[in-house]
């Protein structure tokens, strides 16, 4: 960490890379910044509408189902499972990046596979949740849930919920596709021929970002 960077080094006087990372990795960071502002715009508009509403549905009441449990009231249990799956797949992704650093191809393949499994598991959970809500008659433009105080809720609640979790789910989906491509490249030995696993690191940054966004979606929709 610290020992590789001299404090008084002149980063901007030319001759060296002032951010000390590979070009592609820096651009991945900038892409993630722009994506963060897109998600931020979504979540902040959700917040604005919610602040301008007199009342809002209670998440403990709306999100209280679990597969194969019938009508048992289990508030937030399923979404905590989804959160756990995504954090777990973030861990396996770091382990894959770490294995790439020591050029250990077998372990990269192993951990990338687990990351893909986690991503697919998360998407399956989301598919179940959406199907369940759809069967409860919730969709864009339809809201069967009352506000916490029993008054009629507007469709803003479902519109924002499906748009934002859908946009996040689409990011997870693209992340899974990227990870599958990385896995195929690792199996084919592409990174070994290149001599480094930098691409796994860039895919990893994207994957962690998806996890990061979920942390905010989770708080904004399920806790507030």
């Amino acid at each position: 960490m610290a020992e590789s960077v001299t404090i008084n080094q002149k980063w901007w006087s030319g001759g060296k890379s002032p951010f000390n990372v590979e070009y592609g990795k820096l651009m991945m960071w900038y892409f993630l910044m722009s994506d963060a502002f897109t998600f931020g715009a979504f979540l902040i508009s959700y917040g604005t509408i919610r602040f301008s509403s007199a009342a809002w549905p209670d998440p403990n009441h709306v999100f209280s189902s679990f597969p194969f449990m019938g009508h048992t009231h289990l508030p937030l249990v399923f979404v905590s499972l989804m959160t756990f799956i995504l954090i777990m797949s973030s861990v396996t992704m770091v382990l894959a990046v770490g294995a790439g650093h020591v050029n250990n191809r077998a372990r990269v393949i192993k951990w990338m596979s687990w990351t893909i499994v986690g991503g697919i598991a998360f998407l399956s959970c989301q598919a179940w949740e959406w199907t369940h809500l759809y069967q409860e008659n919730a969709w864009w433009g339809r809201n069967p849930f009352a506000n916490y105080d029993g008054t009629v809720a507007s469709t803003n609640f479902t519109n924002f919920f499906f748009t934002i979790t859908g946009f996040h789910g689409f990011h997870v989906f693209s992340g899974v596709i990227v990870n599958i491509i990385m896995l195929i490249m690792a199996i084919n030995g592409t990174f070994e021929r290149k001599g480094h696993y930098m691409m796994i690191e860039k895919a990893g940054l994207y994957w962690h970002f998806v996890d990061l966004v979920w942390v905010f979606v989770f708080t904004c929709f399920y806790l507030f």
Binding site: P18, F51, V94, R142, P144, H196, G204
Partner: protein, 145 residues
């Protein structure tokens, strides 16, 4: 390793192998898991027992815990903490814009609500409409935006 480009070598050289030790990764995982569990326990078992006007304090707690989780994901999983200061600043300074965005827009939303409550009597009536049976959707919901 022989066909490295120069920039790749510098990028590689700056990374410390120790920063990727699995112990630190798992420690971060446990921290994230514990924070999520605290959020869930508060959300499921503690917050519902308090009157609704206490909710703002629980929300404040969730914001602090969410911020802590975001910090750990960015710093450890995305490895930003171990990068050089120039890179950290090029990410962190633009992200500060969020502070202003959130403050301004939530203030705005609250102001919409207050204005409508004082200026639009129909809106007050709509907000007082009680929902009948939750089984079938209200026709009235379509009109309330």
């Amino acid at each position: 390793m022989a066909n490295h480009s120069t920039s790749d070598t510098t990028a590689h050289g700056s990374q410390d192998e120790h920063s990727f030790d699995t112990k630190a990764i798992w420690r971060t995982f446990w921290i994230l898991l514990c924070i999520t569990c605290v959020e869930l326990i508060v959300g499921m078992f503690i917050a519902p027992h308090f009157p609704h006007h206490y909710k703002i304090w629980f929300n404040l707690l969730y914001i602090i815990l969410t911020g802590a989780k975001a910090f750990y994901i960015i710093a450890e999983f995305m490895h930003l903490r171990h990068e050089i200061k120039n890179l950290i600043m090029t990410i962190a300074i633009p992200a500060l814009l969020f502070v202003w965005f959130i403050t301004a827009f939530l203030w705005e939303g609250n102001s919409f609500k207050n204005l409508r409550q004082t200026l639009d009597p129909r809106d007050v009536k709509k907000a007082e409409q009680v929902m009948e049976e939750p089984a079938h959707p209200e026709e009235g919901t379509e009109h309330i935006k």
